[in-house]
Each structure stands twice: as structure tokens, then as C-alpha cells.
Amino acid sequence: MKYVLLFGETKERAKQWEGMPDAQKQAAYAPINAWFGKYGSKITGGHELQPDRTATTVKFNNGKAVVTDGPFIEGKETIGGYAEVTVADLDEAIEMAKGWPTGGSVEVRPVVDRGEPER
């Protein structure tokens, strides 16, 4: 079963993260790298995302595409990255999410299974 873990954080925290000096940032990455290392065999994809000030949203209004600046999720939280994981069931995905080291929140979403053979 495949799930996507969406890593959410407050915009405030995202800003703090960005403002960190490089040495500090590197140290802060250590637990994240450890997490990816620990669950490496179950992680089948994912990326850290650039901050949401880099986002561009294409919105369809009556079929017409309108390009706007910013993310489509409005609010205090933003998605900092995601990981696709292949595990036995929701409990296993939740356990990985609980181990996520940077706090914030992790949304666990099953992906649609169209019955293709597992890769």
C-alpha cells in the first residue's frame, strides 16, 4: 500500500528555517537525514519543496487558465515537502509520521490504487 506523507509546517517556522545560518541548517538536517536513512527501504519517492513564496498557481475560471502568484492553500500552514512510502498498512505509515523529527504536522494520504502491480 502506498501513501504520501505531506510535511506541513507553519509559515513562521518555514521563514525561521530559511533564515538559519548554513552551519546551523546543516545540523538541523541531521535528524531529517537520519529519518530518511531509517526508513530508506520504504521510501519510494519524495522531495523537499522550495518555500511557498516560489509557488505559482494556475487557477481555472470558467475553463480559462489564470496564473497567479502564491500557493493554492491559504492559511498559516504550508507544505514543506512530501515523501511517498510503500508500507503494509496505515499503522505503519502513521508510525513513520510519528517519527518525523521536525515537528509541525504530517498528513498521511493513501494514493489511489488502480490495481497495477506493485513496483
Binding site: M1, A88, D89, L90, D91, I94, V108, P110
Partner: protein
Amino acid sequence: MTAALVRALGDFDLAEELVQEALLEAVEHWPKDGIPDKPGAWLLTTARRKAVDQFRRQARFREKLALLEGVLMRDDTAEGDDRLRLIFTCCHPALSREAQVALTLRAVAGLTTIEIARAFITSEATIAQRIVRAKRKIVEAKIPYRVPAERDMGERLDEVLAVLYLMFNEGYLATAGDRASRRDLAEDAIWLAGLMVRLMPEEPEALGLLALMRLHLARADSRFDNEGNLVLLQDQDRTRWDQERIASAMVVLQRAATLRRSGPYQIQAAIAACHADARSWEETDWRQIMALYDALLALMPSPVVELNRAIARRYLVGAEAALPEVDALGEVLDDYYLFHATRAELLRDLGRDAEGRVALGRALELTANPAERALLQRRLG
């Protein structure tokens, strides 16, 4: 007699429970109807009848399980394990609390959607949809159908017990008027807690919850007077308390204590036991109750528990000592009617009547429960 039933049923706890229930019935009937010719046979017949009732419930359970079977995968093992799997799946933290409650009542206790809807004073369609959505999430998100691993057991058991306690309170806290028209959810919750105890006899918190429920329910009838007015603990007619139920709760609580792992439900049950033990309000052991609240706070810090400890301090030491403790909770509990009702009482004790009336008014704004409102209104005069 217990042994005869154990042989017949192969279940010691169940046999014990049935005998106890038969004895309860005897206590109720014999003084009225006279002692039967063959008391032993009477008891055994009654116990057997109780067993049949129990098995009917189990049959209902099996029926519901069959209903769920299409949705939930299951492998073939002992029936007890199956029930546990079902309970833990119904109370999975990935489901909303509402869904957990509805699903547990439907799949484990065997209630119909109409019965559940009546208990929560909502439409059958609402409950049916809640259950359908929950089942769909179980399948689509692949919530596993199994007893949690040892590592997660503490957390997951807490979740189950929280669901049962909420269910119980929904029934227990219903006012007298409501109660007549509502299904007795408190009894369903007690039955489910008893089931958990049978399935996980080594879990002291499950025992603690069962004891807590029994102790509350033993006093249920004295909580309202004939006109349906709420009667406070200090004014309750203690002769109306169900002594058999209290005794059975004490047995359960003692069994929990022998397992030597304390927890919030056991402590809350112990507090309820202190009240149940006191022959009169004046004989209440407030020192012991204070100590138990301290223990509870250490395990589960909460402003509501602090408020209750302050109330215990009022009775142990006096209003003057309790008021500052209550006032300190003002910021977090400003929306809680019992905070203001408690303050009102303390202010009145201290002769600060004007302030007390303001606090009472605030309490009144914050509760919609008709019995509680009536009580506060009586105090306002």
C-alpha cells in the same frame, strides 16, 4: 454454583458475573416475593437465564461481525481475539471520535443504527452515513484489522477506553427527562467495559474504568428527585445507592490494584469509591480524596482536575484556602460553567454574596443542560 457454571460455560469470569447477577436479582425479589422453596435451584435458573441473555447479545455480535466481514479482512483465530481486533479497529485513532463511538456501538455492542440515532438524539441517516464513512476509511486508507503491537498497546487501549467513557457519560449525564426517552448508553458502555475486562484481564486501566462506571451508575438514581431536579452529592439519599453495584466495583478495583500499574481511571474510581464508602457526607474522607487528586494531577495534569482538588480542599480546610486555587484557574476555565458555579459557592461561604451572584450568573450563561440550569436558578433565588 459458580463452578457448575464454569464447567458449563468454560469461562470463569462470565460464570462469576452471572452468579453475582443472579444474587442481585434474589436481593431484589426475595424480600418482596418471599424466599423460593429451592433457593439454590432458583439462583441457578436465574443465572442460566442471564447466560442465555448474554449469549443472545453475543449472537447479535456475531451477526454484526458477519456484516462487517465483507469489509474487514479477518483470519481464523479464537473468537476473543476477533472481538479485540474488532474493538481496536472500531476505535482506531485515524477515525473521528464520533465515528469510533457509532462504529463500536454498531459492530461490537450490536445496536441498530436507529438505536444509536435515538441515543444521540440525531437522525438515523446521520448515524448510517457516519458508519458508512468510517467503514470506507477503514478500507480506503487500509486501517489494519488487528490487535495493536505491544509497543502501541498503551496508547491504543487509552483510545478504546476513552471511547467507552465518552459513551458512558453521554448516557449517564443525560438529564432525567431525556433519560426516559433515550436508550441507556451507560449500560451499553458498562457492558463493553466488562467485555474489555474479560478480553484483557491483565489491563488495570480497563478494570479501573469498569469500576468507575459501576460506581457512578450505583448513584445514578439518587441524582434526581421525583420532580426531575438534580440532587447534589451532599444532598443525595445514600440509602438509595446501589450497594451491590458498589461492592462489585470495589472487587474490580481491588483486582486492578493487584496488577500494580496505577492510572487515571483507577484513581478516578478510587475517588468515586471514597464517596461511595462514606455513610454520610460528613464522613467523607477528604484527606484521602485530596491525595488521590494529587496523584491524578501527577499523571494527567488538567485544570479541571485542579478545580476538583480545590473543591476537596474547600471541604478539608475551608473556602478561604480554596478560593485562591480556584481563582488561579480563571484564565483557562473561564468558559467552564462549573468553574463559575464553584467560585460562587466559595464566595457565598466567605460572605461575598454580591460577587457570588455575578459568578452564578456567568455559570448560568455557560450551561444548556436543563437540570443544571434549574439548580443554578434555584441558587440565584
